[in-house]
């Protein structure tokens, strides 16, 4: 019995070491350990209960899946916390990779490295419970009749015309806060945001906020892509990219996304 356990342990270690040897060996900050950073606090639906070790939540699940693809066991994963702003500054990092809904932008890419995207955020419809109670449903026909608002500086403006073609001219604002103020004042029924923003606004900012539905990611012309953030020139990048590719190919990533960003949030897809 003891022998068996020891063997199993040895095998596990061996396979682990072997897998790391493939790509990640010697490239992590601490040998044999993958140090992953996330936000402080990390929140729903990205990390449930601010406890990434539980693997609960979209980003927590993605992190462990990537680690596993790279050959790290769950025990070999260590979590650290970083602020958003500090993470995207240039310089040495105390993590192997960091995930907290970093959009990949050209500007940031000059300072740090991004993995290939693990998530493409779709557009979602932010509204209030009273509008839903008033009969609005997650269908384009129902959406046409609403009074729309959007942040004038985002791609939400052309998408309103492309995806919904509202009957009344939309009202446009300078930033998110103004859009939500107008929604609170009852001047607009609904607003178009990317899903993460919509989730945040409905949970934290808008009283009685609700998300009516989300469009498919490919409906947007330039959707926001989230990537794992790494120090500029980090040799681990190719291993991380390979891991994500294989998670995409196997359908595992889509599974995680469906579980945490559609089923858990209960945001239906608008068709």
């Amino acid at each position: 019995m003891k022998l068996l356990t020891t063997t199993a342990l040895a095998v596990t270690l061996a396979t682990g070491a072997l897998a790391q040897g493939d790509c990640a060996a010697g490239k992590t900050i601490t040998d044999g350990t993958l140090t992953i950073a996330t936000g402080n606090p990390a929140y729903y639906p990205w990390v449930m209960d601010d406890a990434p070790e539980s693997k609960q939540g979209f980003e927590a699940a993605v992190a462990y899946a990537v680690a596993s693809e790279m050959g790290f066991s769950d025990e070999q994963v260590t979590w650290v916390r970083t602020s958003f702003d500090q993470s995207i500054q240039p310089g040495a990092k105390d993590f192997d990779f960091n995930l907290q809904q970093f959009s990949i932008t050209e500007e940031r890419d000059k300072m740090v490295d991004f993995s290939q995207p693990y998530y493409t955020s779709p557009m979602a419809v932010l509204t209030t419970q009273s509008v839903i109670d008033g009969g609005a449903t997650a269908s384009v026909d129902s959406l046409k009749g609403l009074i729309w608002g959007a942040d004038a500086n985002t791609t939400a403006v052309p998408m309103l015309q492309d995806l919904i073609q509202p009957e009344k001219d939309p009202l446009l604002y300078g930033d998110n806060t103004d859009v939500t103020a107008a929604m609170q004042a009852g001047q607009i029924d609904a607003a178009l945001f990317d899903l993460p923003t919509a989730l945040y606004l409905s949970a934290v900012v808008v009283n009685n906020g609700a998300i009516l539905g989300q469009f498919l990611p490919d409906a947007a012309p330039n959707p926001d892509n989230f990537g794992l953030l790494m120090e500029e020139g980090n040799p681990l990048k190719e291993c991380v990219d390979a891991a994500i590719s294989s998670l995409k190919d196997s359908g595992k990533l889509a599974e995680i996304e469906a579980q945490w960003l559609q089923e858990t949030t209960g945001v239906p897809v608008i068709r």
Binding site: A152, N153, V157, D169, L171, L172, Y173, G186
Partner: protein
């Protein structure tokens, strides 16, 4: 045309020629400097691409013009209400009846408060704040409350201008009216006010030109007027030319209006001296 000039005329003609030559010369020099030197600046090509892009201009100008109709409409319904409220407040400040002192106090407070606040702040507070109390549609419209914010701010200025006009009418005009047995309110209505208002037309025109520009601030609470439309085009095309287009549209309206106000102001100054 061989007429002999007097010595004075000849001197003045020489002076005029000299002045004209100098004015033309310096203007040409400045223009040449602008046309030649600016394009030599290292960033000129980039600036030209993002601010003076003919293609973007042609594509966005009709849309901007269309959005400007909303600016004109907001101006058109605000202006008469501003004039009325401004007049009412100016008259309230002139109330001498002690029983109505609260009205006078209110008028003073009102002009102090609204002249002391940035327009955009008032638009935010009223445009989002009052509808936030739970008014039903269409009474929570940003058009209504945003316009009210503009009206409140500008009427405070107009009231002050009208009041200064009332004070500029000579006291003996009021005496003359009262000595005829007219009531104080008739003296104000038929004698003082008509003169006061005539005198402050140019000053008020300047206020209304400023209003025409400040209408764009309503875009902060939702209405897609020309400034917001230009911003949308800017985001879509990553190009600032739409703002230049909007500026041109504004100037087409405000420059003639400013010139006209100056003309009225000059005429009045001449009439008075």
């Amino acid at each position: 045309m061989t007429q002999t000039l007097t010595r004075r005329q000849a001197f003045e003609a020489r002076q005029r020629r000299r002045a004209t030559t100098l004015a033309v010369g310096s203007t040409v020099a400045v223009l040449v400097a602008l046309v030649v030197l600016i394009p030599l600046a290292p960033g000129w090509e980039a600036v030209k691409r993002s601010f003076f892009n003919a293609e973007v201009f042609a594509k966005t100008f009709p849309g901007l013009l269309n959005a400007f109709v909303l600016d004109v409409a907001i101006f058109a319904w605000c202006a008469p209400l501003i004039a009325l409220l401004g007049l009412a407040v100016a008259l309230m400040r002139d109330i001498r009846n002690p029983a109505l002192y609260p009205l006078r106090l209110l008028a003073i407070l009102y002009t102090d408060v609204f002249r002391g606040l940035p327009v955009i702040l008032v638009i935010y507070l009223i445009g989002f704040g009052i509808p936030g109390l739970g008014l039903p549609r269409p009474w929570n419209s940003p058009y209504i409350w945003g316009s009210l914010a503009l009206i409140l701010v500008y009427a405070a200025y107009v009231a002050e201008v009208i009041r200064s006009g009332i004070e500029s009418v000579h006291q003996s005009q009021r005496s003359a009216a009262l000595s005829l047995g007219l009531s104080p309110s008739d003296a104000m209505r038929f004698v003082v006010l008509p003169q006061a208002i005539r005198r402050v037309v140019p000053a008020n025109m300047n206020l209304f030109i400023a209003l025409q520009k400040d209408v764009a601030l309503l875009s902060f609470i939702g209405p897609v007027e020309i400034f917001r439309q230009a911003g949308v085009y800017k985001s879509l095309m990553a190009n600032f030319t739409p703002y230049v287009g909007a500026a041109i549209i504004f100037l087409c309206l405000t420059i003639p209006a400013t010139r006209y106000a100056d003309y009225l102001m000059n005429r009045q100054r001449k009439a008075r001296s």
